[in-house]
């Protein structure tokens, strides 16, 4: 597993546990009984330290957790939670965007839904072809096509968002990145089916919001959502992004799920396993699955474009 900087105490304990286990396995001479006891003690202690560390994460640490390469990604949620999934690709205008996975299927085998997820990728090849999870206009236009399809056939829309932002590149600008984002938001305010968004990791600015104009916007406990990355904010407002200014910017931006819930800018949180989503992928996915299913039942027959527009018109107002 990849350990974050602040997780160093956990890493050290893991190393000691591994060393002890190896020694035990080799049958090295020594007080074997004591070693076994020590392994058990360290394992308990490690869990406690993880709990403590994760209970008091500051904003900058949350950003690291939200970006953790081992967190479950859109593909993981979809393959675990959607039965009979049929992927739907391409915008019918220009091309396919590998940073977006969209399709229809049965959520937890029960609810017919349309799903749109951003994809960061896990291998270097995947990350490169998916632009590290930064969609291009064709990605947003693919999403819009699926939103339209969902609307026509009465399927609720689930979006799973984990992106540093929309791709900033020459072709993306030429093909109308700004227009694609605006149109995607507009489309989500035009559909008459329930829309649920889960921000599973990074909610990067307009590139995330384009897919997050939902009846219910939920965030995983250690996910973040911001108008700009703390690095970008520090570079502009503090004139320099460094070890001191980046955490200051992260904290000032109020980008944690807890802050945003308090400010009334999101609708709720989904608890992560102790030590973060990357420590227990399947438990995280199950919690997301169950929460969405419950929300789908609650929203049944209750969501309309009028309500969604009203919600966003009133958001953060006064």
């Amino acid at each position: 597993m990849h350990y974050l900087e602040f997780e160093k105490p956990l890493l050290e304990m893991t190393e000691r546990i591994t060393a002890l286990r190896t020694a035990l396995g080799k049958g090295e001479v020594g007080a074997e009984k004591d070693m076994e006891k020590e392994v058990a003690r360290l394992t308990v202690k490690q869990a406690r330290v993880a709990r403590l560390l994760y209970r008091n994460l500051d904003a900058a640490q949350k950003v690291q957790v939200a970006r953790h390469p081992g967190r479950p990604q859109g593909d993981d949620y979809i393959s675990a939670l959607l039965k009979d999934f049929v992927p739907l690709a391409g915008d019918r205008r220009f091309g396919e965007d590998k940073a977006i996975l969209a399709g229809i299927g049965l959520w937890q085998g029960t609810h017919k839904v349309a799903v749109v997820a951003t994809r960061k990728g896990k291998t270097t090849t995947q990350r490169l072809e998916r632009n590290f999870g930064m969609p291009k206009p064709e990605g947003y236009r693919t999403a819009m096509r699926v939103f339209d399809l969902a609307n026509r056939f009465g399927l609720p829309i689930i979006t799973l968002v984990d992106t540093p932002g929309a791709y900033p590149g020459i072709e993306a600008e030429e093909r109308g990145q700004a227009e694609a984002i605006a149109a995607s938001m507009s489309k989500l305010l035009d559909v008459n089916v329930p829309v649920i968004t889960i921000i599973t990791g990074e909610g990067g600015s307009g590139g995330a919001l384009a897919l997050a104009v939902a009846d219910e916007v939920l965030m995983l406990e250690h996910a973040v959502y911001s108008v700009i990355s703390p690095e970008g904010c520090a570079a502009i407002l503090w004139k320099e992004a460094n070890k001191e200014t980046i955490p200051q910017a992260a904290s000032a931006l109020k980008l944690t799920a807890q802050d945003l819930e308090k400010l009334g800018l999101i609708d709720g949180l989904i608890k992560e396993p102790v030590g973060g989503a990357h420590r227990d992928e399947s438990l995280t996915i199950t919690r997301v699955g169950d929460t969405v299913s419950r929300t789908l039942l609650r929203l049944k027959g209750k969501s309309s474009k009028e309500n969604r527009r009203k919600k966003f018109l009133a958001l953060g107002h006064g």
């Binding site: 020459i170 305010l189 307009g206 407002l237 109020k254 400010l263």
Partner: protein, 279 residues
């Protein structure tokens, strides 16, 4: 003109008459030619030598577009300042204070109603001089108020954009204005009220990626920088140089992203025509 009576008294814009002694020369940033300060207003801030469009002060723009320079400001309910008590090297509250003092505006917008070529319309215009026209809650509110006023009066809405993007000091509150303005425009569209956008220099970030790109008709000023990401960010990401004319109004037109690039001298006529044809 009953739609006018709801609003406060019309203001006649005053064009300062400067004595010769007070006049100065401005330098065209494109060709370097010297422009006599007094010529800026009558020339609509366009360089006589090369046609370069300098940034047009909002007051002058509104005076030139509205018939006889006459318009009524539509009040926008005040949003509480500084929702996050944001402080970087400076307190956001102080930045606001300075911007207010420098511009005489509450925030980076004007909402006004009046007639263009005899056609009533509502205008929401961003002021780049106020914290780079960045999208605050107040700016979002202005767009919403303008859209709702246009909808209520059934008169076309015209937006003039000039913005560096998000008001970072308002973080996700700023971000959510993209969705808020989009929601207001969705209602306007359904009500069948035309919405025309004039993209001025520069229009980038969250403003471009929301109400600036949702027009029924999208116009742009010659040479205006228009984009989602800023050119520096893009150059950094790709690690190379950008094509000639990249993200300029003409480039966007070539790529199918705007309907027309309209020079200042033709703007009023074009807008009047559009309003009367669509309205």
């Amino acid at each position: 003109m009953s739609w006018l009576t709801n609003f406060s008294k019309p203001k006649i814009s005053t064009r300062k008459k400067r004595g010769v002694s007070a006049s100065v020369w401005a330098k065209c940033p494109a060709c370097g030619d010297l422009i006599y300060d007094q010529d800026l207003v009558p020339n609509l801030y366009v360089c006589g030598a090369c046609g370069h469009h300098l940034r047009w002060p909002l007051k002058e723009r509104l005076a030139a577009w509205f018939d006889k320079g006459l318009y009524t400001e539509i009040p926008v309910p005040h949003m509480p300042d500084d929702p996050l008590q944001f402080k970087d090297r400076k307190r956001y509250k102080d930045r606001l204070k300075e911007a207010r003092k420098a511009t005489g505006r509450e925030d980076a917008f004007v909402v006004a109603s009046g007639e263009v070529g005899g056609n009533p319309c509502v205008v929401v215009a961003l002021d780049f001089d106020f914290m780079a026209g960045s999208m605050s809650r107040a700016v979002g509110e202005a767009v919403v108020v303008a859209a709702q006023a246009a909808q209520a009066a059934k008169t076309p809405l015209l937006a003039v954009t000039a913005s560096g993007g998000a008001r970072m000091q308002e973080s996700v509150f700023s971000l959510m204005q993209m969705a808020r303005t989009t929601a207001a425009l969705a209602d306007l569209r359904e009500a069948g009220v035309p919405y025309i956008v004039m993209l001025a220099d520069p229009t980038t970030g969250g403003v471009t990626a929301s109400f600036a790109m949702l027009g029924d008709v999208t116009l742009a000023e010659p040479g205006a920088l228009i984009g989602f990401a800023g050119p520096r960010v893009i150059a950094q990401t790709i690690g190379g140089t950008l094509p000639e004319g990249f993200q300029r109004a003409e480039y966007l037109k070539e790529h199918g992203m705007v309907d027309a690039v309209v020079a200042r001298g033709a703007q009023k006529t074009t807008i009047a025509r559009l309003i009367s044809l669509l309205g």
